[in-house]
């Protein structure tokens, strides 16, 4: 298995062993995902390529990467590329994966920005109308994405309270995003602070207290 010079006897790789990755292979794999992952949900594309096709990770490790990625600022697509690339080929792998993931979108958006800025005359009305439709569709799409995340992860009074606090803080009280992030974030992290495991009765009574407020 460890001898890379001998070509493996093709795809009988039913064994759960993980394949090793070369730097160019990492770049090309992420480039392909970066160029074809239309419609968001890059994580699903990554999983099918890295866990499914390439067998570079198993599901447990992939899930661990997504949980690191979710906790940090930055987008899932790029955070996942950096984390996976590093595990596969170290620092160089991390850069290769990030570049591969980003290059197609960079070209796409730069060209789009140039075309959008250059339009004039009658074509302008058509482009503006099309983009108004796209913007409306984007609202529905993003709402659906967060609805699905929320349905899976929101549990109980605390979570609902922190969501409401963030929404009202920005849209009603007009606080800035960093102010809300720091304030609500700090309170939320404190609410889920580590607790000594030897005192379960106290936690229960606290839950009763919370539910008595509803």
């Amino acid at each position: 298995m460890s001898d890379a010079a001998i070509p493996a006897p093709a795809p009988q790789a039913a064994a759960p062993e993980r394949n090793r990755a070369g730097l160019l292979d990492v770049f090309l794999t992420f480039l392909q995902i970066g160029a074809t992952s239309f419609g968001g949900g890059v994580v699903a594309y990554l999983r099918s390529a890295l866990v499914g096709k390439k067998k570079w990770f198993d599901d447990v490790e992939f899930l661990e990467l997504t949980s690191i990625s979710n906790t940090l600022p930055g987008l899932n697509a790029t955070n996942m590329s950096i984390l996976a690339g590093d595990r596969l080929c170290g620092t160089a792998g991390s850069i290769a994966a990030m570049l591969g993931m980003c290059l197609p979108a960079f070209v796409f958006m730069t060209v789009a920005g140039i075309l959008y800025g250059a339009q004039h005359g009658s074509s302008r009305h058509i482009v503006t109308a099309a983009l108004a439709g796209v913007a409306a569709a984007a609202v529905g799409l993003i709402a659906a994405t967060w609805y699905q995340i929320g349905k899976k992860s929101v549990k109980g009074f605390y979570d609902a309270f922190f969501i409401l606090a963030a929404v009202l803080g920005i849209n009603h009280f007009k606080f800035s995003v960093p102010e809300v992030l720091l304030a609500v974030g700090a309170v939320a992290i404190f609410a889920y602070r580590p607790r000594p495991p030897q005192k379960p009765p106290e936690e229960e009574s606290e839950e009763q207290w919370i539910s008595s407020l509803r």
Partner: protein, 173 residues
């Protein structure tokens, strides 16, 4: 030169706010690029953000679109680097020490606590975005249809976005 420095500063700042995704930073992005620096109009921001939803890869690469409209190709490059490199380095470092953090009791607290905050920030961003993009029953109907189709079926969202463009050309001209 001053403008490129301003682009770098603004997008590096915005990137730190993208907890749970790009939508969290949208209200701050609107403030910075429309109200403070006047790089684009509110409509242009909505349009470029929407085009980003059609892009493969990270959809927040729409910052390159804003950059190119503000300061041509250097603007696009600076905006993209400023937006993706600082958080990228942070992710890289945390990824390396993550296992050492495994026994740090606050790790779970941070993960658990930031979950609902990320959802709240995204909803707030979506409300800000929606206020600029939903006017009238056509846009409202498009948004609702896309929402229900996405929740109920597995249609590729890119097709729904294209459908939105089609409806726009027919009904919103």
């Amino acid at each position: 030169m001053d403008q490129l420095a301003a682009i770098a500063g603004v997008f590096a700042y915005l990137s730190l706010l993208t907890i749970g995704g790009g939508m969290a930073a949208y209200p701050a992005m609107k403030t910075m690029v429309v109200d403070v620096h006047h790089w684009v109009t509110n409509d242009q921001l909505v349009h470029i953000y929407s085009v980003g939803q059609m892009s493969p890869g990270p959809n927040m690469m729409m910052v390159a679109g804003l950059g190119v409209m503000t300061a041509w190709l250097p603007g696009a490059a600076i905006a993209a680097l400023a937006f993706f490199v600082p958080t990228g380095i942070l992710t890289f470092v945390v990824g390396r020490i993550w296992n050492r953090l495994a026994n740090w009791p606050w790790r779970d607290s941070i993960q658990r606590g930031l979950g609902p905050v990320a959802i709240g920030l995204a909803v707030a961003g979506l409300l800000t975005f929606g206020r600029s993009s939903i006017h009238g029953w056509v846009t409202l109907a498009v948004a609702l249809i896309v929402f229900f189709v996405t929740v109920r079926t597995k249609v590729n969202p890119a097709l729904l976005i294209l459908g939105g463009a089609f409806v726009g050309v027919i009904a919103l001209r």
